[in-house]
Amino acid sequence: MSHRELATAGATPAAAGTPAIPDIETPVVASMGLPGPILWTLIVLSGAAAALGGWCWSVQIQRGMVVTGLQNTEGWGVYITNFVFWVGIAHCGTLVSAILFLFRARFRTAVYRAAEMMTVIAVTTAGLFPILHVGRPWFAYWLFPYPNQRHLWVNFKSPLLWDVFAVSTYFTVSAVFLFVGMIPDLAALRARVSGWRSKLYGLLSLGWRNSDGEWRSFGRGYLFFAALATPLVISVHSVVSWDFAMAILPGWHSTLFAPYFVAGAIFSGVAMLITLLIPLRRALGLSDLITRHHLDMLGQLVLFTSLIVAYSYGTEFFLAAFGGTALERSTFAYRAFGSYAPFFWTMVFCNCINPMLLFFKRFRTTTAGLLWVCIPVNVGMWLERFVIIATSLSHNQEPFTWRIYHPSLYEAGITLGSFGWFFFWYLILVKVMPSLSIAELKESAHGEDEEVVAHAA
């Protein structure tokens, strides 16, 4: 059902030939009702997983980093894997909301709010890992430059500092982008809800009254937000990739890393969005607004980025094989046939082979087909980061330091906790805030009308 068709149910009838404005508020308000038993169960389970992660962290704080599997030469493990993974997931929101906005891709309208929410929660989740990883989280503020008695400043030549600036800027801009986009919708809903929700929406909508002057400022401002967020989204994962690429470690020291990481981030982010949207659109009763067409378009994005990622994997091996560096060849041979080979080949299957099913429309337009591809992509992209980190550190330039990294149960608990944390806050957010852009859906439905009228003429 198109936005136009949906409109006919709830809109006030208009004169013949002059289309009415659709009623998007009713399904959105309905989607924010009390969660059903399945959703409650998911919220409780994800909350419990987050609590387990919190407990594991408390043990790590109490006993020190010795509870992890990290040691000399294997100083990075699943924490950094998780950090890169969650930053990657966060890329989808800005891609869908900003880049596709600039390209005028209309299908984004129904899904971008859900993607933006995912972005903000995913960046928050990612931001936990550097704090976890430093071992003494109460000194995490040392990462930021601040005036102090010792006149010390942070080292701005380090990619780790670039990360601090890139990720904190990304969090701020994506949160602001999400908030600004929601202002007109919160204003539209404040009269449709009651109690604390009405007060909250009234407060957050900042007295918005839909006047043409407000829309004028909003439209222009939103365009510039999108224009600023687009290079930002590309820069953030490039900066994350430079954490690796600036090191002179075989398997990491490559100029390919920035575009390869950006494509991988979009790939994993869109796959996660599809994984979330398929059950949510049913649970929230939004199947008429988030249609198979939208999922099909997102599926095409997954396919496109999968091809880029597969090409990057191939290029990495090609450069290692023909680059004339024995160390590089050795590291990549170890990656494919060494101790971590099962992870590597699972990654290749999940990220390069399985997504090829999306060439078939049947897979892109059925929820089972999409989940068959996208859930493994989430696994594969986590494994990709793990393989990059673990294989290069385990097989560096000094053979006497080679060792296999085994994550401890505490690291596994914290990893599980991060997924719990992410899903818990996401499920809460989609129930508290409108997960669809009401104003843009109305505008989009009107655009469809214009096309129909022009076609008829």
């Binding site: 809109a11 006030t12 009838p13 208009a14 004169a15 002059t18 289309p19 009415a20 404005i21 009623d23 508020e25 430059p145 006149h151 010390l152 400043w153 942070v154 080292n155 701005f156 030549k157 500092l161 670039w162 600036f165 890139a166 800027t169 701020t172 801009v173 602001v176 600004v180 007109p184 204003a187 539209a188 009269a191 900042l206 007295g207 009254r209 839909n210 006047s211 043409d212 002057g213 407000e214 829309w215 004028r216 400022s217 909003f218 439209g219 222009r220 401002g221 939103y222 510039f224 937000f225 600023l228 967020a229 290079p231 930002l232 820069s235 009401i438 104003a439 109305k442 505008e443 009107h446």
Partner: protein
């Protein structure tokens, strides 16, 4: 030259003509007719930014872009200057690289440019919205956030009967005089 704010506030006190429409097409038609008749200060409230209504209103482009540009430029300058100053304030030899290394500082300069630009943009959007809200005379009705469009002509410009007739002709579902 646009009227001064106190003058606008004075006019608003006199109320005006409010026409309510079901469709953006009709509202745009009414606005175009009203402006042709000489009503320059027509205002509208609508649930979404409908392009034809905005075109009919004929507002000049917002200056938010320039403000955002200035914010971004200030951010980039801050990023480069701050990193350079801290490097000189606490000189630390890192692998023999120059004390002030502009290439790595470009990352910080870029991130600060985006951050400052975005925050300046946010401030400009909010100020612009508050300003336009203060100067408008549109009644605050929930239906303008729902499925209707309101077109308002201040009393000083509304020629009563002709304006009313124009709005009805364009398809207004309700035309009233508001205080």
């Amino acid at each position: 030259m646009p009227p001064e704010a106190p003058e606008l506030a004075r006019r608003e006190k006199g109320g005006g003509l409010l026409a309510v429409f079901d469709s953006p097409h009709d509202a745009a038609r009414a606005i175009a007719s009203l402006r042709q008749r000489g009503c320059d200060d027509v205002r509208a409230a609508m649930p979404a930014p409908y392009p034809e209504v905005e075109r009919a209103l004929g507002r000049s482009p917002s200056r938010i872009g320039w403000i955002t540009f200035a914010g971004g430029l200030a951010g980039a300058c801050f990023g480069y200057l701050f990193t350079s100053w801290t490097s000189v304030d606490w000189p630390l030899n890192i692998g023999g690289r120059p004390l002030v290394s502009l290439v790595p500082y470009t990352v910080i300069g870029f991130e600060c440019m985006i951050l400052f630009g975005a925050l300046t943009n946010l401030t400009a959007v909010l100020i612009g919205a508050f300003w336009s809200r203060w100067r408008r005379g549109l009644p605050d009705r929930a239906e303008f956030a729902g499925n209707r469009i309101g077109v308002f002509v201040p009393a000083a410009q509304a020629g009563d009967a002709p304006c009313e007739a124009l709005c009805r002709e364009a398809g207004a579902v309700e035309v009233s005089h508001v205080a």
